[in-house]
Amino acid sequence: MVSINYATREVSCKIVYYGPGLSGKTTNLQYVHQKVPPSTKGKLISLATDADRTLYFDFLPINIGAINGFAAKFQLYTVPGQVYYNATRKLVLRGVDGLVFVADSQPDKMDENIESLNNLKENLAEYGYDLDEIPIVIQYNKQDLPAVLSPDDLRPVLNRTGWPEFKASATEGFGVFDTLKCILKLVLDKAKTGGVSPSQRSVPSVSAPVQPVPTAVESQPEVRMPAARETVVPHPYEEKPAQPVREPVLETVGQGAVAESTESDGDEYPKATAEANLENPAPQPSPVADIRPVYRPFPGNTREDEEQMSRPSPGTRASTEYVSMSDQIRKPRAEQTAASAGQSDRDKPYAVPESPRMAPPLKAETARKKRSFFKRLFGLK
């Protein structure tokens, strides 16, 4: 896109040299850089590999001076021609105002020319540009070599649209300036007339609305996702009326596992459960959101003990155990304490709702240390 800066009174345009590998795009720029007056040109920057193959782009700024009070600046870019570098090639095309397609006139390079032209079309389409809407000049390069195809042979294949075309040899220099002058004039003409309707050049917006990250609370309905399975095999835990926030998540996973495993072979119970859990991993709410400080004066009972007591039937034992194990792996210790505390009603009076005296993780850690101390002291398992 042409950039007009009224403050510095500059008009800036971007010209890209496109074409297959080794067709002479960089050589074109090098010739221009050698021959134009020093006041006109900037530094030629080449992002190339050690073997002098263009890796990202070559860049040559040209300032042709003030015209009607505006300095006309052109930025000449080349793309890496090798098929392998398509990702970077595409990036250079962003905001292009004019294109020079440098074709290799050697007979055995014809396929590469066609491939590159098609690739140009594809890459432009990704930016929402149309090859017919952008000023483009085609250059039949390497005409100094013996046994090359003439423009008459190349035209039917490469230039069916009738773009301006030039015979050239970038190494010897003929045709290079003609090509450049032609494309610069076309770009400036286009800049004057405006050319394209806005709908045709609607670039896909870079700042597409990002999906909002679900918070722990918002994700609750999604957590209950396998609702169909709940109806298949109702879990005994469902009869419990008031469950803490974390519990339905775990149980839902458990239910999915139970549903799947009962449908399959009963002997492979734990295995099927494991697979089901891998397939339906419970979404992880943020660990910070759920941490509640818990005061437990005699923490002799572990979570397993509580589960043992509240486990209603031996039939669901395997899956429940599995869930509690996976739960332990997934959740930080503090959350586990909070969840297990919320599980049985007798812990509830001890839960400190707000303004804990210590930061929650620290508190949980202290509780854990205390518990292990008492365990060791009284030989509890």
Binding site: M1, V36, I45, P61
Partner: protein, 162 residues
């Protein structure tokens, strides 16, 4: 002009420049460049005399573009902040609005945290200016004078002589 051209007027540049100066003072950075994602330099402030700002703008935009592709490959939309650390000088780049990049060059007299803080503030304010600019350029399209192309054509013939 094609409709998505970047057109910048003097009063906007003045506002942008004052914001950049404030950023430089606050963060004690060396210089700040505002660059279009296409590689055009919009404006610059600070000690830029020793720098080839045109080339710098093109390379910064290229760097940002390639980083965006990397982001896409790892499943991000875009990396909004980019930081290059050198021995003496460092560059902090951040996204401004949809189509510009704010690059701040600084040395060890300040810290990355300060630059980051001020750059974020400035980027937010710049984004507002750019939104206004887009609205305006959609309302009235500015054009360079009609004989611009013809005059330029003659000049091109003079310059590009074999």
């Amino acid at each position: 002009m094609s409709d998505d051209s970047l057109i910048i007027y003097e009063e906007e540049i003045e506002r942008i420049d004052s914001l950049l100066t404030k950023l430089l003072k606050g963060a004690e950075a060396k210089c700040a460049l505002l660059v279009d994602k296409d590689g055009h330099l919009i404006t610059r402030q600070g000690f830029t005399h020793s720098l080839d700002t045109t080339a710098l703008a093109a390379l910064l935009a290229g760097s940002f573009a390639s980083t965006k592709e990397i982001a896409r490959l790892v499943g991000e939309m875009e990396f909004s902040v980019l930081f290059h650390q050198g021995k003496k000088d460092h560059i902090h780049m951040s996204l401004v609005g949809e189509r510009s990049i704010l690059a701040v060059i600084f040395d060890d007299r300040t810290t990355i945290g300060m630059v980051r803080l001020y750059a974020k503030e400035t980027a937010d304010e710049l984004a507002k200016i750019f939104t206004g600019m887009t609205d305006r350029s959609q309302r009235g399209r500015a054009e360079v004078s009609a004989d611009f192309a013809a005059t330029a054509g003659n000049k091109l013939d003079d310059i590009f002589k074999d």
